[in-house]
């Protein structure tokens, strides 16, 4: 049997208590061709260097923890085959986020953006458990289903040229989430969210780069959501001009 192939992983290291700026460290290890990139990082952590910090959990592409830049591209590393890369693989923390330590980024700002879009069902009259499930046709479900598939992995924020220039930009995932509720037949909060979308740093900041949808590991297509949200926010505004308030929708 031939020796397993070796690859060199060049990984960003940063401990704010010691380092002024991030540095890199190289690890040459034998890799199993079936490995994902995450398996290689885990191997380094377990067997080579216990001081390396990164986030991961489900290793099945649904918890959204293990996003990193691999050779400069935002990737979900538990989904990303190690064998597609050459002898040297560069791994850095997700772009456009402050770095806490090594490959761990600060996601508090991202979480705040989520809350801004009111990502919950808004109804004029609350329902009780005893009311039972509301009916929703398969077609109505289809309207928002795709936009409900976001795993919050944040790759789209790393890819987005607007986020890079304008850190306050609400960003692809948060807008897609707000839009997801706006087009859910059970929700009555679209006018509230559209008012948010018409504010600064939201849907009209988007430059149509489409990078978000290209890097999305779950095919959510946040770019489509942003475009639809933009259109709806305008229509909602125009309707508001024509009809006296209170008669909307």
């Amino acid at each position: 049997m031939s020796d397993p192939p070796k690859k060199t992983f060049v990984i960003t290291r940063f401990d704010p208590d010691v380092d002024e700026v991030p540095k890199t460290q190289s690890y040459e290890i034998a890799v199993d061709p079936d490995w994902k990139v995450l398996d290689a990082v885990n191997y380094i952590k377990d067997e080579v260097d216990g001081t390396l910090s990164h986030r991961w959990s489900c290793r099945m592409a649904v918890c959204g923890s293990c996003g990193m830049m691999v050779n400069g591209e935002p990737r979900l590393t538990c989904k990303d085959s190690v064998s597609q890369y050459g002898d040297t693989v560069e791994i850095t923390p997700l772009s456009n986020f402050p770095v806490i330590r090594d490959l761990v980024v600060d996601m508090d700002g991202f979480m705040d953006k989520f809350k801004k879009v009111k990502p919950w069902i808004i109804r004029a009259k609350e329902l009780a458990a005893e009311d039972g499930p509301v009916r929703q046709s398969p077609e109505e479900l289809e309207e928002f289903k795709q936009f409900s598939m976001c795993i919050n992995c944040m790759l789209c924020y790393s890819a987005c040229p607007v986020v890079s220039n304008e850190p306050e930009f609400l960003g692809p995932a948060a807008i897609a989430l707000g839009h997801r509720y706006n087009v859910d037949s059970r929700d009555e909060g679209a006018s509230e969210r559209n008012a948010i979308f018409r504010g600064e740093g939201t849907v009209f900041s988007c430059s149509f780069a489409n990078e978000c949808s290209e890097v999305c590991p779950k095919n959510v297509d946040p770019a489509a959501a942003v475009n639809q949200a933009k259109f709806n926010a305008v229509i909602d505004w125009a309707t508001g001009l024509v009809l006296p308030s209170g008669e909307k929708e």
Partner: protein, 574 residues
């Protein structure tokens, strides 16, 4: 050094299905109550996210509580508490309706009603689903709904290292802020543990990296018994290599299990599942697969070791894509098989712990003000074997109930003496700091973890016997001693994941101690606990729960009566 103290009325540890549901229950019951939610990960990373197939609740005209109750009792091999089960089946539809109101995208019938699918051990279609990403959708719906409530204050990426108990009353928790590397006290008048199971004690598991039995170990060390820990569920269909789950919904939608000869062995031979075949309960099907492997009828060629097949090729692309798209996604990604065209290699894999923190029907523990819900708890819904799709609903039903009960308790409870809690907290901070600063130590974390994993698999697998379990009991104690000499390479404060791994390993060792200790004394076969040396169920001597108490001289195992009811124990045959 003075330790920082944070105060809330109620502290919830864990932000998955059960923890979020508990928090929402409290927030809705009384908006003036402040809730601190402490979680070692951001809530949407919690392992609830990985649940796939569905959540059970009576929904159809051909179903009723009696049937759901009996199925669950029988599935539990009569070790489920029947009062708990009756409460559960009645609350289940209401809880799933609430999830619907909160935005969960349940799959629908043409008329707009919620669709249900068949599941193992369930006598009719009562499993609600959102394709095959049910845990993901439920978790995100719960988390997003919880954001409405400003009184739920989250402490994300904070790792609880100790429960603060004063006499026999809970006062709060000590937690390590992973990001800052500092310890704090989060005090409350009631605490709910909702930290999930500990499947990572085993080498081959569907569980994510975070499933290290933390809440179980915290309660165990604080003196609360762990109950029925010997009952570990092996899910029949895990992908070889990674252990990634292929949902039971694949069989619910009509998938077959086949051996190397292409036989549907559950139909060809008598494995006790009768005409249910692939929709038998998990314990029986996992045993059947192991027997097929031992009889030489497993597939052996290829890279995946001995395995059998889950065959979906007769279902057609449209059905697979619309009902179980994640099965296809995972199979393609992690074993390179498209189930539309080829059968999926699978083998039994550690999935769920029926055992956990001993609670009563309200989630209450033996410590006043301390509650537990979800997989970390053993409320005795699942007994010796859980039916698939009961556990997501369990997180809701008992998460809500323990939240409400914690609120009721907190209203009448006093606050602890802060100065003594501060001094206890300072001691705990000192312990954690010393661990981080430790420079002696020769035992690699990964080596100890592997040793633990190996012994848990060899001693407490699908089939067990005295000698192998006893070897595990001894090996766990040896690993516990070796752990004292664990090597720490990372002495830094900020986001020290190695320190977290050490604390998690310690938790896994403690729950493994309880698990092996219970397994060795249960000399019968019941549900998921199958002994080759005692192949039959023995109601005469073992129709009781196992309890395991922590003691500095070693674990103490005792028993607790099962709450029976209208369903008399009978031979479990399908």
């Amino acid at each position: 050094m003075e330790i920082e103290v944070l105060r809330h009325d109620i502290v919830i540890v864990g932000g998955g299905g059960a923890g979020l549901r508990a928090a929402i229950a409290v927030a809705e019951a009384d908006p003036s109550v402040s809730i601190g939610m402490v979680s070692k990960v951001y809530p949407m990373r919690s392992h609830t996210v990985s649940a796939e197939g569905g959540a059970a609740a009576v929904a159809r005209d051909d179903d009723d509580f009696e049937m759901h109750g009996y199925d669950t009792v029988k599935g539990s091999d009569f070790l489920g508490d029947q009062d708990v089960i009756q409460y559960f089946v009645q609350e289940a539809p209401k809880e799933l309706a609430l999830l619907e109101h909160w935005g969960c995208p349940w799959s629908r019938n043409e008329d707009g009603t919620v669709a249900t699918r068949a599941f193992g051990g369930m006598s009719t279609k009562r499993t609600w689903f959102a394709t095959d990403k049910v845990g993901f959708h439920m978790l995100h719906a719960l988390f997003q709904h919880s954001m409405r409530f400003d009184q739920i204050v989250r402490y994300d990426e904070q790792f609880v290292t100790k429960l603060l108990v004063d006499g026999n009353t809970i006062r709060g928790v000590a937690a390590l802020d992973i990001r800052e590397g500092v310890m704090r006290l989060v005090l409350g008048r009631a605490v709910v543990l909702a930290t999930g199971g500990g499947g990572k004690a085993f080498p081959f598991t569907t569980n994510g990296n975070i499933k290290t039995g933390d809440g179980m170990a915290l309660a165990y060390r604080a003196g609360v018994a762990l109950k029925d820990m010997e009952f570990v569920q092996y899910h029949p269909t895990g992908l070889p290599g990674t252990g990634i789950l292929i949902t039971e919904a694949a069989r619910g939608e009509g998938g077959y299990l086949r051996n190397a000869d292409g036989e549907r062995f559950l139909v060809e031979r008598d494995y006790g599942v009768g005409t249910k075949a692939e929709l038998g309960p998990r314990d029986m099907i996992s045993r059947a697969i192991i027997q097929e492997i031992e009889a030489g009828r497993a597939v052996t060629q290829g890279d995946w070791g001995e395995h059998v097949y889950l065959d979906l090729t007769h279902l057609g692309e449209e059905k697979i894509q619309s009902r179980i798209p994640m099965v296809r996604e995972l199979s393609k990604l992690y074993v390179g098989v498209d189930p539309v065209h080829d059968p999926i290699p699978i083998r039994p894999v550690v999935h769920y712990m029926m055992g956990g923190i001993d609670t009563d029907i309200e989630g209450g523990t033996s410590i006043d003000g301390l509650y537990a819900a979800g997989e970390c708890a053993s409320v005795s819904l699942n007994g010796a074997n859980r039916l698939g799709s009961n556990s997501l609903t369990e997180c809701l039903v008992f998460g809500a109930r323990s939240g409400r009960k914690a609120l009721e308790f907190a209203r009448g409870a006093s606050e602890g003496d802060e100065s003594s809690l501060r001094s206890e907290g300072a001691n705990e901070a000192g312990r954690v700091d010393a661990l981080r600063a430790k420079t002696s130590g020769t035992e690699k974390i990964s080596g100890l973890r592997r040793a633990l994993n190996d012994t848990m698999e060899s001693g407490c697998g699908v089939y067990r016997e005295e000698a192998s379990i006893q070897a595990s009991v001894d090996t766990v104690q040896e690993i516990k001693r070796r752990f004292e000499d664990v090597e720490i390479q990372d002495h830094s404060k900020v986001f020290n994941t190695e320190l977290i791994s050490v604390l998690e390993l310690s938790n896994m060792i403690d729950i493994s101690e309880a698990l092996t200790s219970c397994a060795v004394v249960r000399k019968e076969s019941r549900g998921a606990h199958t002994r080759r040396d005692f192949p039959n169920r023995d109601d005469q001597n073992f129709l009781h729960h196992s309890l395991c108490h922590f003691d500095s001289t070693g674990p103490k195992v005792s028993t607790k009566p099962v709450t029976l009811g209208k369903w008399e124990p009978e031979e479990r045959k399908y």
